[in-house]
Amino acid sequence: MSVSYTPMMEQYRDIKRRHSDSILFFRLGDFYEMFFDDAELASRELEITLTGRNAGAAERVPMCGVPYHAADNYIARLINKGYRVAICEQVEDPGAAKGIVRREVIRVITPGTVLTENMLDKGNNFLVLLVEEDDIVYMAAADVSTAECLWAEFAGAHRVGNLCDQLFRLAPAEIVLGGKIGSLADIQAFTAVRLPRCTYTSLVVDDYAAIAGLPGCHFGTDELPAASGAVSALALLLHYLYQTVKSDLSHLSRLTKYDAREYLALDASTLRNLEVTANMRDGSRKDTLLSVLDHTNTAMGGRLLKKWLEYPLLNPAAITARQDAVGELVAKPLVRQQFQQALAEIYDFERILTRIEVGTANARDLVALKASLAVLPGIKAGLATLEAKRLAAAGVAIATHGDVHDLITAAIADNPPLAVREGGMIRVGYDLELDELRALARDSRQFVQDLEAREREATGIKSLKVGYNKVFGYYIEITNANAANVPAAYTRKQTLANAERYITPELKEFEIKILGAQEKIVAIEYHLLCQIRDYVKARIGEIQHTARLVAELDALASLAEAAARGGYTRPALNTAREIVIRDGRHPVVEKILKRELFVPNDTDLNHRDCEIMIITGPNMAGKSTYMRQVALLVLLAQVGSFIPAREASICPVDRIFTRVGASDDLATGQSTFMVEMNEVAHILRHATADSLIVLDEIGRGTSTFDGMSIARAVIEYSKDKIRAKTLFATHYHELTELEETAKKIKNYSVAVKERGNDVVFLRRIVPGGADKSYGIHVAQLAGLPKKIVERAQEILAELEQGQRHVRAAAGEAAATACAAAAAEQPTLFASSIAEELSAIDVMTLTPLEALNILYKLQIQAKQEAGRP
């Protein structure tokens, strides 16, 4: 049964049909209204009152609304909950429209296309689009707010893993699926745990041919990737952005390719384990490597520094270039200080440029852009005095955009309002016509005052007043007591309880002039603002380029500041495939310690005599800290940063792998041991001889012997097959025997001092293996009740006694196994039945023991025969 609605509601339903996946904000006067299901949903999510509206049908239509000037806040809340919001505006002047006002959706806001400042933090907000073609996953990604656009392809057996690593770094707010992705379930499982904020959208395009040309038009054919899958990913991405942002996106002009081979590969778990940009505790930046290094003064610099940490370099020349720049800024603290002061004046102008591009920039944005541009000449001059290549080149390349700065200075008032359609933005003296109109509007006071005095005189009514209100305009108010004296020329306009309001031709004429002027002022100001925006928009490419240079300077100065504050030194780069660190410190832990002092440690990893460090020592002694420290210092060195060490020489590694600490992957439903083994498998598959591997207590998730065996096998495999620099911490002191087996394996331990019953951790890594774990001691330190500690010590004593037997047995077993193998009698057990029998001393057996042995032998015989 069809219901007939009012024309306006028909218009609504028509638009809603085309945006059924979004909540439609339908502009009605000063409100955005929502109807039907949208209204019920929004009233629940936003806690606003649900009402109804007569819409022609028998039943009132559910409705709720928010005032237009407060809409941003409500939209932000809906976006944060993962909804999409379509903004539908009146696109013609209601006064001029015939029938109902035409309305159009002017923007669709999705988590990945947010542009409003209050919905974005300082970091990036990426939108990722995925396409799969011939078993290759293509990714196109864009941060519309900062005008970054990149693409990548993931092929081969580990494409999903590699894609997930990349997703982890981009941390997209929204993933758009352009078609069917084979391993979507795996990707979604990953994002559910690691990127819980991320939402998914499916994009269905009926006529792909219509959009296939988009990337070519937008980026120019030179920049396009060769793979057709990549082009279609970009085409879909652009299509999606055009549909949502609804602008020509001219600022999104630079397309880069993410090529894993250019960067030190860090998988998601390594980034997490090392707490590079987010800590493990709550995912925030607190106590991360980034927090120690981030002394940036601009949002752009902050984003770039984060990127640098997530994508350390491989190319020694590129690393050296950054080191040179950092070094010069460290050595010239006064220059650095000047840069920092100048940079602090710079706003997030990448995002301002985006708002200019999409036409939402207001006058304050322009003032902020002006203030940012104002410090550029100083920065340029400062850079000109420097020698490091990157800095000097940036000094040459930074353009100061003096014309833009001067134009905004001349045109925009110093403290303009946020609103763009209320006037007050344009500076006096910029536009002659505007100034004249303003003068006209300003003189109204005098006119009203004069008119009032004249009319009082003429009518003799003392209480005569001239007034104004928005609905009726100007009026002359006369109380009822004086009604008799009202001149005939007055026209009655409005009746109040105790007064009448009139208008005269003179007042009417004045009103038309004033109101006209007011309207014209607003229109002219808006027009001028648009003109200036367009002027800036034409220059967007150049200014973006400057913004990128500013970001780079900021990031370099930040590294220099961190180096100066932390007493860091410049690591040398070697080609001898060595990692040599003297008195290295953990950059984050040394900051957290207050009363205690961080104990620095040396590292010597090479492929001659120390490829694998087996580190033993008690819990809490600092093994994990040490290993993370080595990984972090290598990472930092490849970022081009200075590092907390007395001196260091580092050869860039191609990947850093870590398997550290207990994983909290309970959310994935995997057991700790399973997660651990997955990660180890991943490492062993991907590591090369140029990698750095950090393994912390492999195999502790299972029984002692299983664990020890796995650990030993992993080390052996690493030694023989991978030959990567490896740090291996373990509790299994038995593994220290491996040192004997290969020259490249070295034992290290954390020095411990026993003092009576007490143990002091010296936190110093020294050559040689440890022979004790001091686990019970640590338990005592942790406050385990004394009774339990004592009992544990007893049990330990017994076990140690027992273990000697076990070891002896194991030794024999191994020997017999060899013998068995030689005899080509493979058996699941260590010895054959014959040997077992001959080993029995029948004379000393009790009858029960004899029966037990018989039982065992029978089972063994059955199994050897393959019968249960």
Binding site: V330, A331, K332, P333, L334, Q337, Q338, Q341, A342, A374, V375, L376, P377, G378, A381, G382, T400, P417, A419, E422, G423, G424, A441, R442, S444, R445, Q446, V448, Q449, K465, V466, G467, Y468, N469, Y474, I514, L515, Q518, A564, R565, G567, D583, R585, K594, R595, L597, V599, P600, R646, A751, K753, R755, V760, F761, L762, R763, R764, V766
Partner: protein
């Protein structure tokens, strides 16, 4: 058998006594330890203190460190690596040499030393409690030395009592460390006080960078370089332009052969060079490094070695005087072209200081290069310098602010019994009263009176109905705000009627405010309303009353009759807080008999 009356003191007691000389307060511990660190060729020195240093001091350096036997010896009295015979005293280049510091400090604290030379894997840890070695063992540690001093004076309660408030003690530490940092700009210093980094020098970029990081980047452009050399004596460093004056000598640092010293001789030489340039009393900021042969100076005259003796005082005096004068003279014509809007924040200071007529009877050529003699005759010869040294107290200056205790008496205003004497500059009222001479800021005083009167009335602020309404024009945004807040304005005493899209008629406004000020007043309130944080009604009211009082009060420049003055003083005395205006500025300044005596140097 009688016990002998005289005994040789055991070592521990001797150390405790010596500590009295060397360890005066936490800052002296810091000084001794940092000087040790400097002597050990450190590049980075970090000082961490808590509670003003009384509970915890730690000095960490990355110097050469010590091996175990040395570490054990270091805490013995008169053990030093720095000299071996008394003759060495005259050629001493290190900062310490007596071997007194560590044992003295260890005698009066819970002391620990962790030290490692670069060729050892493990550090040595020595723990001394109240002078008794309680533990010696291996430890983990970086190359260099860490000394921890906890619970200073825990075993000498009498001395502990003499420690000042933690803020004062950490202030002393801050001062001394700042000066040490200036004496070694090539070393990076850090001071962490109660877990906050409060001082850091870069250890690079020379003295100027160290000065900038200590005194702020803005000081940089205010400094003049000093560089002067004569007969084996070199003076270098930075002095401030005469426009940058400081309130005390804390901002003056003298470094002689790498040692921070306090010297009246040097301070006087500095003062004299500035003498004619200083517009008012104050002390120029200065960092001066003097290098002269080791045998021309005796450093062993003071237990803390903070004072020294020059063998030829007049020569040093003259050299410093000439160095500073030359630098000041050279700076004078320095005035660059107008600033562009794009210049560095540190662009040269534009304001020029006018050179006052020379009152001293020597001449100098303004552009004279520093190395040429700038004055012919020597009318300020040695004799003057001598005198300067002798007049010890003259240097003490007028540091102490005479009106410190004003805050304490602020509330006790009753019974001041002010009898007006007159009005000065149409701005201040001078009055005699109990307890001395009073100067009253007439505007601030009236503001206070009006504020209290206005706030005494509850409900709507007292209003005046205007006979002739005031018409005002606002800009559209303001008009919108007024339109939205008509009720608020009504409570604040304004009755407004709209007479145009952005024009209003004021028919009523707060009493006492002159109608001519209506627009400005309204504007002030609009600024408040427009601010980001929407003010509460009470805040608005308070702010409005403040503004009303301010707008209505007599202004500086209003001439008052004696009667008006009398009335004003009476009403002021009746207010609850007569000493300050509602904005918190002082309204009354009192000069007690003591203050007056001080001003006239009668004490």
């Amino acid at each position: 058998m009688t016990q002998p009356l005289i005994r040789v003191l055991d070592e521990n007691t001797a150390n405790k006594i010596a500590a009295g000389e060397v360890v005066e307060r936490p800052a002296s511990v810091v000084k001794e330890l940092v000087e040790n660190a400097l002597d050990a060729y450190s590049r980075n020195i970090e000082v961490t203190v808590a509670d003003g240093g009384s509970s915890f001091i730690r000095v960490t350096d990355d110097g050469v460190g010590m091996n175990r036997p040395d570490a054990e010896l270091a805490i013995l009295r008169h053990a030093t690596s720095k000299i071996s015979t008394a003759e060495d005293l005259y050629s001493v280049h290190s900062l310490g040499f007596r071997g007194e510091a560590l044992p003295s400090i260890a005698a009066v604290s819970r002391f620990s030393l962790t030290t490692r030379p670069h060729d050892a894997a493990l550090a040595t840890y020595v723990e001394v409690t109240g002078g008794v070695v309680t533990e010696t063992r291996e430890a983990g540690g970086g190359v260099g030395t860490v000394v921890t001093v906890a619970d200073l004076f825990f075993n000498t309660p009498a001395r502990r009592k003499f420690l000042k408030a933690p803020a004062t003690e950490s202030g002393h530490i801050h001062d001394i460390l700042g000066k040490l940092a200036l004496s070694h700009p090539e070393v990076a210093f850090r001071l962490v006080n109660n877990d906050r980094l409060v001082l850091a020098t870069p250890g690079q970029g020379g003295l100027l960078a160290a000065v900038s990081s200590l005194y702020g980047a803005k000081v940089g452009p205010e400094l003049l370089p000093v560089s002067h050399e004569e007969e084996g004596l070199a003076v270098s460093g930075y002095i401030a332009k005469p426009t940058l004056l400081k309130s005390s000598r804390l901002w003056q640092t003298f470094i002689v052969n790498g040692r921070v010293v306090s010297s009246r001789l040097l301070a006087k030489a500095l003062d004299n060079a500035y003498h004619s340039l200083l517009p008012k009393s104050g002390y120029p900021l200065a960092v001066l490094t003097i290098v002269l042969p080791a045998d021309a100076v005796d450093v062993n005259v003071h237990p803390q070695k903070s004072e020294i003796k020059f063998s030829d005082e007049s020569k040093v005096f003259k050299a410093v005087y000439r160095a500073v004068s030359a630098s000041l003279a050279a700076a004078q014509p320095e005035q660059a072209a107008a600033t562009t809007s794009f210049s560095w924040p540190r662009a040269e200071q534009r304001q020029s200081f006018v050179h006052p007529p020379n009152r001293v009877s020597y001449e100098y050529t303004p552009r004279a290069p520093a190395d040429q003699p700038v004055w012919r005759e020597t009318p300020l010869p040695f004799a003057v310098a001598r005198e300067a040294i002798r007049q010890e107290d003259a240097l003490a200056g007028l540091d102490a602010a005479p009106f410190q205790d004003q805050a304490e008496e602020a509330q006790a205003a009753d019974g001041m019994n002010l009898a007006p004497l007159g009005q000065v500059d149409d701005c201040y009222i001078v009055a005699r009263g109990e307890g001395g001479l009073y100067i009253i800021d007439q505007h601030a005083a009236h503001e206070r009176i009006l504020y209290e009167r206005l706030s005494a009335a509850s409900g709507r602020i007292p209003v005046q109905t205007l006979l002739v309404p005031v018409f005002i024009d606002l800009d559209p945004r303001e008009a919108m705000l007024v339109g939205e807040h008509l009720a608020v304005f009504h409570d604040l005493g304004f009755t407004l009627e709209q007479v145009g899209p952005a024009a209003f008629r004021i028919t009523e406004m707060p009493a006492d405010v002159p109608p001519g000020e209506a627009r400005d007043f309204l504007h002030d309130i609009l600024v408040l309303l427009d601010g980001r944080a929407s003010p509460t009604a009470a805040e608005l009211r308070h702010a409005c009353l403040q503004t009303a009082a301010c707008r209505a009060a007599v202004k500086a420049g209003d001439s008052l009759s004696m009667r008006q003055i009398q009335a004003l003083l009476q009403e002021l005395a009746a207010t609850s807080l007569p000493y300050t205006c509602p904005h918190g500025r002082p309204a009354i300044v009192r000069f007690g008999p003591d203050d007056l005596a001080k001003l006239f140097k009668r004490t």
